[in-house]
C-alpha cells in the first residue's frame, strides 16, 4: 500500500482552492445581486397571526413578487421600542419599518426616534382615512374597544361602558391586566370622566374590584375565562370578538353609547432606517386595496383606506355604523405618555394589590 490514497493539503492546494472559491464567488455575485432585486426591507412586528398575515397579505403577494426581499424582526412591542431607543445613536439602525399601536407610535415620535412621514411618497396616501394619517406614522388597521358579554350569563344586554363597569356584576366582570391603559380609559368614560382625566375611572374600577371583578393576565386567558363561563362581561377589541365567535365562544359585542375607544395599529419609520425606499414601499404595499381587504377577512380589523370593499355581512361583524365611527374615542396620547408609568403603578399597587 502506498501513501497516495491519503489526502494531503499543501500550501499550494490551499491557495488554489481559495482562488477557485473567489472565482466562483465573483462569478456568482451578479446573479446574487439580481436575486436581491430591489433590496431588503426589515420589518419590526409582533409575532403570531399578525406576522403571518403581513407575510401572506402584503409581503408575498406585493413586495416579494415585485422583487423586494422582506425580513421580519418579530418581538413584542416593548422589546422593539427598546431596540429603537437603544439604536438611536447608531447612524444605521437595523429595521426599516416598525409596527406599533397609535399610542406607541406617538411615544416613539415624542422620543424623537422616528421620521416624519412624507405622504407624497405614498401613491395610496390619497385613499387613506384622514384619521389614520399621523404625521409620524401610518395607520394600518383599526378596531374599537367594545362591550363583550355572554348572553347566557348577562341579561339584559349592556348598552354602555357604564353598564359594563357596574359593581353589580361582581365576579362576572372580567378585566385584562395587559390592557390596563384602555381599561382605565373605558372605566373613566363609564364614570363620566374624560380621556385626560382618569380619576373617576380609577374609583369605579376599585369598586368593581371590591365587588369581585376578576383580573386575567392576557387576552387569551380572558377568552378562556369567557369560554369556561367564569365570567360573562367585559371590554375587548371588536376584531378579537369576531375571532372568538369564530372559535365557538358564546359572546356578543356592543358599541358603547359613550363611543368606542379606538385602537389603531400602524407603522413608523425609524430615523436611522437603513433602507428608506424600502420603508415607503412597505407602507404603500400595506395600504393596497387587496391587502387591506384580506386583513379585514383574516383578522377582523377594519381597513384604513376608503377603496377597500368589505362584504356587508363581514362589515356587520367587524365594522362600525357611520354614527359609531363618528363617535369613536381616541386616547389622549400626550396624557397617556406623560402618565403611563404612574397609571401602571396605580394599577399594580391599588387595583391588583
Amino acid at each position: 500500500m502506498t501513501n497516495t490514497a491519503r489526502p494531503s493539503i499543501s500550501r499550494r492546494h490551499v491557495v488554489r482552492g481559495a482562488a477557485a472559491l473567489t472565482a466562483v464567488g465573483l462569478a456568482g455575485a451578479p446573479s446574487g445581486a439580481a436575486a436581491q432585486g430591489k433590496g431588503k426591507i426589515v420589518v419590526g412586528t409582533w409575532g403570531g397571526d399578525y406576522a403571518r398575515l403581513l407575510n401572506k397579505n402584503i409581503e408575498q403577494p406585493i413586495l416579494i413578487k415585485s422583487g423586494w426581499e422582506v425580513i421580519q424582526d418579530q418581538a413584542g412591542d416593548p422589546e422593539r421600542r427598546s431596540k429603537i431607543l437603544a439604536e438611536r445613536r447608531l447612524p444605521r439602525g437595523t429595521t426599516d419599518v416598525q409596527g406599533l399601536s397609535a399610542l406607541n407610535m406617538f411615544q416613539m415620535h415624542d422620543a424623537g426616534v422616528i421620521d416624519a412621514i412624507d405622504y407624497a411618497k405614498l401613491k395610496n396616501a390619497a385613499k387613506l382615512l384622514a384619521s389614520m394619517k399621523y404625521s409620524y406614522g401610518v395607520g394600518h388597521i383599526y378596531s374599537g374597544k367594545v362591550g363583550v358579554y355572554n348572553p347566557k350569563l348577562i341579561n339584559p344586554a349592556p348598552k354602555s361602558y357604564k353598564d359594563i363597569f357596574d359593581p353589580k356584576h361582581a365576579n362576572r366582570l372580567g378585566i385584562i391586566d395587559i390592557q390596563y391603559q384602555y381599561t382605565l380609559v373605558c372605566a373613566a368614560l363609564a364614570a363620566g370622566g374624560k380621556v385626560d382625566n382618569l380619576e373617576p375611572g380609577k374609583k369605579l374600577l376599585l369598586e368593581c374590584k371590591k365587588a369581585g371583578a376578576r383580573i386575567y393576565p392576557t387576552n387569551e386567558a380572558f377568552a378562556q375565562g369567557l369560554k369556561t363561563e367564569e365570567f360573562g362581561i367585559g371590554v375587548m377589541w371588536k376584531a378579537r370578538v369576531v375571532q372568538w365567535q369564530n372559535a365557538g365562544i358564546s359572546v356578543e359585542a356592543i358599541a358603547p353609547s359613550e363611543g368606542a375607544l379606538a385602537y389603531v395599529s400602524g407603522f413608523v419609520i425609524p430615523k436611522n432606517a437603513p433602507n428608506k425606499d424600502g420603508s415607503y414601499a412597505y407602507l404603500d404595499a400595506m395600504l393596497e386595496k387587496t391587502a387591506q381587504e384580506a386583513f379585514a377577512i383574516d383578522m377582523g380589523y377594519n381597513p384604513t383606506v376608503t377603496n377597500a370593499a368589505v362584504a356587508a355581512d363581514l362589515n356587520k361583524r367587524i365594522g362600525f355604523a357611520p354614527e359609531e365611527v363618528k363617535a369613536l374615542v381616541d386616547l389622549d396620547y400626550a396624557y397617556m405618555t406623560q402618565n403611563d408609568v404612574a397609571l401602571k403603578e396605580w394599577w399594580d399597587k391599588e387595583l391588583k394589590g
Binding site: P78, R81, S82, L85, Q107, D110, A111, D177, I215, Y216, P217, A221, Q224, T228, E230, T337, Q338, N339, D340, V341, K344, D348, K349, K352, G353
Partner: protein
C-alpha cells in the same frame, strides 16, 4: 532584571512564554465573549440605574440614587423582593428534599438501565420553561385535568383555585429546578465511596447516623453547589411566575421586565441590580458559612 545568559534559563523563559501564549489563546475567546456579552452590558445597565426617568424623554442622563431609594422605601417593591426570596428558599429546600433520595439511588445504582433513568431526569430540560408552564396551565385550570379528575371522583364539589396563586408558581419552579438539583447531587454522591458508608455501618451506625455523620458532610460541598444553583434559578424565574402566578402574584424577574415594558429603563436597571446583588450575596454567604462550619 538579570540578563538571561545560560541556555537552561533561556529555555525556561521560552517555555514560560509558550505556556502564557497557549493559555492566552485558550482563554481569550471565552474571555472576550464574557466581557462583551456579559460584563459590558452589566456595566452599562449599572450606569443606567443612576439615570432619571422622564415620561416624555424616557431616560435622562443623571447621577442619582432615586431609583434605589424608591425601591427600598416603597413597601410594594420590598414585599415583592421578600416574596421572591421566600419562594426561592422554599423551592430550593423542597428541591433538595425531593432530589436527594433520587440522586442517591441514581448514584448507587449499578443497573444497566441507569443511563435511561438519568435520561428520564434530563428529559424535562429538553422542553422550554414557557412550554412546560403552558402544560401546567392545562392541568391547574378550573376546568383543567386535575380539577376535572377530582370533581369526577367526587373528592371536591367546586374546582380548586390553583392557577394564578403562589402555590402554582412554587410547584412550577420546583418542576423546572428539580432536574438541575438531581444531576448536581448525583455527580457529588457518586464521588462519595460506598466503602465509607459500609465502614460506618460496620462500626454500628444506623442508616440515619451514617447519613448525618458520613454521607451528608462528605456531600455537603455538592449539596451547597446544587442548592445555590437552584436558588439562583428560582430567584430569577420569569416564565413560571408570569404564566402560573397571574396578574396578582409578583416576583422580581417579571417586575424587572415590567419596567422595561414601560420604557422606565433606569428603574428597571436598579431593580435588576438589587436582584442580582441579593442573589450573589446570599449565594456567596451560604457558601462561606457552610465552608467555615466544615472547618
Amino acid at each position: 532584571m538579570a540578563e538571561l545568559s545560560a541556555p537552561a534559563d533561556r529555555l525556561t523563559a521560552e517555555r514560560r512564554d509558550g505556556s502564557f501564549l497557549t493559555a492566552s489563546v485558550l482563554l481569550g475567546p471565552a474571555t472576550i465573549v464574557v466581557v462583551i456579552g456579559l460584563l459590558l452590558p452589566i456595566l452599562i445597565l449599572f450606569r443606567y440605574s443612576f439615570n432619571k426617568f422622564e415620561p416624555r424623554l424616557m431616560m435622562v442622563e443623571a447621577m442619582t440614587a432615586e431609583n434605589y431609594i424608591k425601591f427600598f422605601t416603597d413597601p410594594f417593591y420590598t414585599n415583592i423582593f421578600w416574596t421572591t426570596l421566600r419562594v426561592a428558599l422554599l423551592c430550593t429546600l423542597v428541591c433538595l428534599i425531593l432530589a436527594f433520595p433520587l440522586s442517591y439511588i441514581l448514584a448507587r445504582s449499578n443497573s444497566r438501565y441507569k443511563n435511561v433513568l438519568v435520561m428520564l431526569v434530563v428529559l424535562p430540560l429538553f422542553i422550554g420553561n414557557a412550554v412546560r408552564a403552558a402544560g401546567w396551565m392545562t392541568l391547574f385550570g378550573s376546568k383543567g385535568a386535575l380539577n376535572a379528575g377530582l370533581l369526577q371522583l367526587g373528592v371536591i364539589d367546586v374546582p380548586l383555585q390553583i392557577m394564578f396563586t403562589e402555590r402554582a408558581v412554587i410547584i412550577g419552579i420546583i418542576a423546572v429546578n428539580l432536574p438541575y438539583m438531581v444531576l448536581t447531587l448525583q455527580s457529588v454522591l457518586e464521588g462519595v465511596p460506598r466503602d465509607v458508608e459500609e465502614a460506618a455501618f460496620s462500626l454500628g451506625a444506623g442508616p440515619w447516623v451514617m447519613f448525618r455523620r458520613v454521607l451528608w458532610p462528605l456531600a455537603l460541598p455538592g449539596i451547597v453547589a446544587g442548592a445555590i444553583f437552584c436558588f439562583i434559578l428560582a430567584m430569577n424565574a420569569y416564565a413560571t411566575p408570569t404564566l402560573l402566578g397571574g396578574p396578582q402574584f409578583k416576583m422580581m424577574g417579571p417586575l424587572v421586565f415590567g419596567q422595561f415594558r414601560l420604557n422606565n429603563w433606569p428603574f428597571g436597571a436598579a431593580i435588576a441590580f438589587v436582584l442580582m446583588t441579593a442573589t450573589l450575596v446570599l449565594a456567596a454567604l451560604a457558601n462561606v458559612l457552610i465552608h467555615r462550619r466544615r472547618r
